[in-house]
Amino acid sequence: MPVHYGERLRVTYSWWRDFRANGPRDEFRECERMSTDRIDIRHVARLARLALTDDEIRTFGPQLGSLMTHVDALRELDTESVAATAQVVPSRNVQREDTVKPEIMLSREAALRNAPQAQGGFFRVPRILSEDG
């Protein structure tokens, strides 16, 4: 459990109460202050394969913190004996015959037509393994 849990929760409760009572407002300073630095935005960006500028890190860091503070309101909702919903309609394990259907396949040419680089019928990518890897 992250630290400051009780404090964040208190702020979040009051924010939702305020929203319920007064509707949307433009100021979220209180929650912004709570954004803390608990999220390592550089680490998350690396996981997402997203190069961020210093400016973006300064902007997205607090915004992400602020949003996560809002979503922490979910903690107060009892989901103890509740199953997770991945999707809402009744289909389960839809399968099709394991056969090739040329009429619904893209030709190799069509599949490569949007490729930034293609060579010999394949997608071309930069070197994947470094010399020491």
Partner: protein, 495 residues
Amino acid sequence: MDPIRDTARAIAREVNARAVSAADVANAMIAHVERADAGVAAFLQLTPDLMLEHARRADARIAAGERLPLAGVPVAIKDNMCLEGTRTTAGSKILESFTAPYTATAVARLLEAGALPVGKTNLDEFAMGSSGENSAFGLTRNPYDLERVPGGSSAGSAAAVGGFQATISLGSDTGGSIREPAAFCNVVGFKPTYGRVSRYGLIAFASSLDQIGPFARTVDDAALVYDAIAGKDPMDATSVDLAVEPAAGATREDLRGVRVGLVKEFALDKLDAASRASYEAAYADLERLGAQLVDVELPTADYGLATYYLIAPAECSSNLARFDGVRYGLRVEGADVGEMYERTRAAGFGPEVKRRILIGTYALSSGYYDAYYVKAQKARTRIAADFARAFERCDVIVSPAASSPAFRFNAKSDPVTMYLMDYYTIPGSLAGLPSLSVPCAPAIPEDGDRPMPMGLQMTSPLFTERALLGYAHAFEAATQYAKRLTPAKVENASA
């Protein structure tokens, strides 16, 4: 017949009767749309050649004795749906040069029904936004006040129909992206049950929520489009194999015997006075039509936003992993493949998309997965259960579609403030329910001096689209609110 202002039903009737040809309709729309779109900028691309080609095809089929439900009807297509041979960008620089290699099922079904593609419409990048301001390719303006947003994410599809630059259009709705812009642009916007319409060829944002649906200027036209696009598609395993009862023409004129639920948690006292008056009038209209108004509760509705802003970004971060500079779209070179990925994505995605990828990646990352993603999925179960309970007491739930009329550009600079725009639409999306917005009484915005469109949201149980469209038709027929407004003159455009 007026090919620009008439309904889809009227155009199709005339074209099927060969009173006018589809080619005539196409030529009229082509001549009209370029000038009409100069101020609104609903379109990223016009497709006059394709429009004429489909018009010729429709005319030939009708000459051979066929009857086409959307014969000669001009349709605009949100640019996150593939149309073979046309550029399909999803409003993103990363797909700026992408040419669709096939056609989305919903689009193909419309064209097969005789509709004519006017062009591809602007949207918030990858359908992420509530105002239309997140497109990489410029702003679309609200046809009823060019200084205001059209709503999002289906900005151009709503604006094109509201501004008479297409008769009908296709949008996609993940958390309100059809209903909110429909409310802002004076049109009917309809999100069918999740799984009713194939998502094949729709560029994915959040796959457990995304659903394609129509915009139209009448409920009956929206129903005509729904009838053409709904139904099982073998190319989308999540499309549902249930018979689709035709909804068009199955219209009702009153609401006698219908129990209409008003949600306690959606009490109108949160709204500004003008918006509140519009919805109070709408509820009175429903009662006058014979509906029995009942109070229902959705105790978990207030958790909708928090739940959505975990689930949707999580699915988006996973779906958008495919944009890596290898198979399609932008590539920015790097020393190795990892650097190429990072630079490509940094250059190709706009700020809102990056923000959501970061939120989703964080929520799915090791150590937080159960606390955030699984918790949100469980909250989703409770929200759906609340709706199921509410529908034991009522047939349809009504609420505001948005908390205000269209706002001015740059009015909501804080992301969370923008996310709050979806407050009323998100719970129904999480439950997968069919939901629509139908015009109600125009209201003067707090920061304006003339009336702007408003939308009444109606939401019904899973797979009850036909009944839902019937209720909306009764409301529309009795009130005719959309006809109180006319689009701003393009000549007044300040841009």
